[in-house]
């Protein structure tokens, strides 16, 4: 039900932006449509392959092993391991979230997944090296990465301590 309301709200927002774009009468409406078609061609195959792949990977992962190393009872050690996994993930959101989804299906705990996802979001090697470093410069990247380092651990630890 919540998901349905969310989807409807999202479509309403999209409709409003469509009307706003249309009323500009300067080609924004058409340009947005054209851009989104190109985005769909990029995103949809990745989602399809990623979701299918994640399901099958989860089906062959040994649940006892995942449960023991990253499960809800793995505590702070599991959070630390999740941080390392998040730092080591190659590539973009499909690979990262597919790994997270497989681990979750195979029994990983919420704090561990939150740490894993946060680590990937903040430090994805690919994004940092290919995009952030050339555009923002070394000084910015070094400072940002050092400042952000405690974040995934802190979030995971918070969820472990509060028993979420």
């Amino acid at each position: 039900m919540t998901a349905l309301i969310f989807t409807v709200a999202l479509w309403l927002g999209t409709l409003i932006f469509g009307v706003l774009a249309w009323r500009r009468r300067d080609g924004t409406f058409r340009a947005g449509l054209r851009d989104s078609l190109r985005e769909y061609r990029f995103i949809i195959p990745r989602l399809a392959v990623g979701i299918l792949g994640a399901g099958f990977v989860a089906a062959i992962l040994p649940p006892e092993f995942i449960e023991a190393t990253l499960g809800p009872s793995s505590g702070l050690a599991g959070v630390a391991l999740a941080l390392v996994c998040g730092l080591a993930v190659p590539g973009g959101p499909v690979i990262a979230y597919a790994i997270g989804a497989s681990a979750l299906l195979a029994g990983a705990g919420t704090p561990q997944i939150v740490t894993f996802v946060s680590a990937w979001l903040l430090f994805s090697a690919n994004r940092t090296l290919v995009w952030e470093l050339p555009i923002m410069g070394r000084r910015f990247v070094v400072a940002r990465v050092i400042m952000s380092l405690p974040v995934p651990l802190a979030l995971g630890a918070l969820l472990v301590v509060t028993g979420t």
């Binding site: 479509w11 932006f17 947005g32 190109r38 994640a54 062959i60 973009g92 555009i135 070094v142």
Partner: protein
């Protein structure tokens, strides 16, 4: 969101998406089949074969059915989020945002930067040049750190298109809630930082 293409050299100065130079340019062309796509395809096919082999055809069909359902369930959200993001990108009031992110902007500036990070659509090829544009437009280091961090951990588009598709929505909501203060905290920290943690000392002269 793309992680295969090389950085566009023309965007290095931030001019492409910067304030004051009219419309944002067209989205850069991306290769549909790249290394990452091939990698997940190969792993997925291998895992599918292994599932059939190790756990039998029934489990294989059950997993396949669940996954097709999950994909179909997420399609309406993805279609809407991408379309909304594309229109928003073309209509974003860049100048207005930059004007409110200056050195004296205080907590309000950090909040606006965090909000901007949530709603700014597009991948790293949009967000980082926009950050440079904010810096050049007078934003202080704290607001820029808040913006970049917010875009990284709270981006609505990434969360809706990718994260909710893969992970349990309740887990995503929890992650989102605990991450909400992070950009503001790091922005606050960046304003007080010295030495190696000083993001951009020259930007505030």
């Amino acid at each position: 969101m793309t992680h295969g293409a090389p950085p566009p050299s023309g965007e290095k100065s931030g001019g492409a998406d910067g304030p004051g130079d009219g419309k944002p340019k067209r989205l850069p062309r991306r290769r549909i089949v790249d290394g990452g796509f091939l990698f997940i395809s190969v792993v997925g096919i291998a895992a599918a074969l292994a599932t059939w082999w190790l756990r039998g055809p029934e489990i294989f069909v059950a997993v396949l059915g669940d996954d097709i359902w999950l994909f179909a369930e997420n399609m309406p959200k993805v279609l809407a989020a991408v379309l909304l993001a594309c229109w928003l990108r073309l209509m974003l009031p860049r100048e207005v945002i930059a004007r409110h992110l200056g050195a004296g902007s205080g907590w309000r500036g950090l909040l606006i930067a965090t909000g901007a990070g949530i709603v700014v659509p597009g991948g790293p090829m949009t967000a980082f040049p926009l950050s440079v544009a904010f810096l050049e437009g007078g934003a202080d280091r704290g607001t820029v750190i808040a913006f970049v961090t917010s875009w990284l951990v709270l981006s609505a588009q990434r969360t809706i298109v990718w994260e909710i598709a893969f992970l349990d929505p309740e887990l995503v909501l929890l992650r989102y809630l605990v991450s909400l203060p992070v950009p503001i905290l790091l922005g606050w920290l960046a304003r007080r930082a010295h030495g190696v943690l000083d993001v951009a000392p020259e930007a505030e002269r």
